[in-house]
Symmetry: C2
Subunit: 200 residues, 2 copies
């Protein structure tokens, strides 16, 4: 909303694509864990020089922030879409289970979950974003549960607040299991069965 200074009139034309570097960083962090990937390695993989990266992102905190922000848009957005759909509570749960426990998208786990695990080692901007994403996801789950309650889909006497924390924890666990190469499908289904008390 604030800057489109395109067509800078003078100087060497810029060849570095910030979005491309962000994408390389996002996938590198996602696959290998943010703490295991150096800024040097990302420069190599992206085929750009280190000063270029520092010019665009400031420092490594800027780069991890950009990578996580991009991840939130491209990947976590799919979770949000599910929670905000018009489907029934049961169908929403099914879709969340599929996306987190089966979809190849998360075969290496979830960048957000990995960054949250390494939160203390991240820079301040990235830490703040991790917290913001966590709140946002908790709100989304709360909304799902309160809508279900309003629609009469019994959530087994579980408060909306507890249910949202539980849903977030269980999906995070499943994504963590996938990062370790485990198949979380059955255990996640069992965990979410607490929401089906007398339902069909």
């Amino acid at each position: 909303m604030n800057e489109v200074p395109k067509k800078s009139r003078r100087g060497r034309p810029k060849t570095l694509k910030k979005a491309d570097v962000t994408d390389v960083a996002m996938h590198a962090y996602w696959e290998n864990g943010p703490a295991e990937v150096s800024l040097n390695a990302i420069c190599q993989q992206a085929g750009v020089s280190k000063p270029s990266v520092y010019r665009e992102f400031g420092n490594d905190d800027g780069l991890t922030h950009a990578a996580l922000s991009s991840y939130a848009d491209k990947v976590l957005g799919k979770m949000l879409t599910i929670t905000q759909s018009e489907d029934s509570f049961a169908r929403k749960l099914n879709q969340l289970v599929h996306l987190s426990a089966e979809d190849v998208l998360h075969e290496h786990g979830c960048l957000f979950v990995k960054m949250r695990t390494a939160k203390a080692q991240m820079g301040p901007k990235t830490q703040e974003l991790i917290g913001a994403i966590e709140s946002m996801s908790l709100d989304a789950f709360s909304k799902v549960l309160s809508e279900a309650r309003a629609a009469g889909s019994g959530s087994g006497g579980i408060s909306v607040e507890l249910g949202a924390r539980y849903l977030q924890a269980q999906i995070g666990l499943a994504l963590d299991q996938r990062a370790r190469g485990e198949d979380p499908k059955e255990t996640l289904a069992l965990a979410l069965s607490v929401f089906n008390t007398a339902d069909t």
Copy 2:
């Protein structure tokens, strides 16, 4: 069982206590995460020189192995004791919940869980030990569940194998949450409520 070569007759008397260094390492890894603590830092904290540590432990893999092994004896042994007790299934679950979700012992989480998360960054001996501990704990939970089934305590139509994996995953999750500063008590209780279908 194999060596007590005490009273070596010659040479400078040894002052380094291997057990003390192991203990310092264990607590440092436990609190800060194994990937965030360097061998240098442990040498400083333990007040010993680096070559001494290399002589005793070989390399960093040897040190992390020793630390995790010590942790398994001192801390995970308490879990094992609970699973092997003569208590009822429900009481065992209660004790496991208390130990992992409330006991100050795990206020910084669990070293095993942290090492498992960082498994790929650990040395081969440590990786092997992580796998062995995981199998052992799975066996312990399986035993608890099959005994409960034999004693008639209904575990809600959940197979022993799935129940054991589920119990391990949920306790691991709770310990992970404690490492992040969250209070897992309510969510863990909710997760384990799947074992109470028609029980009192």
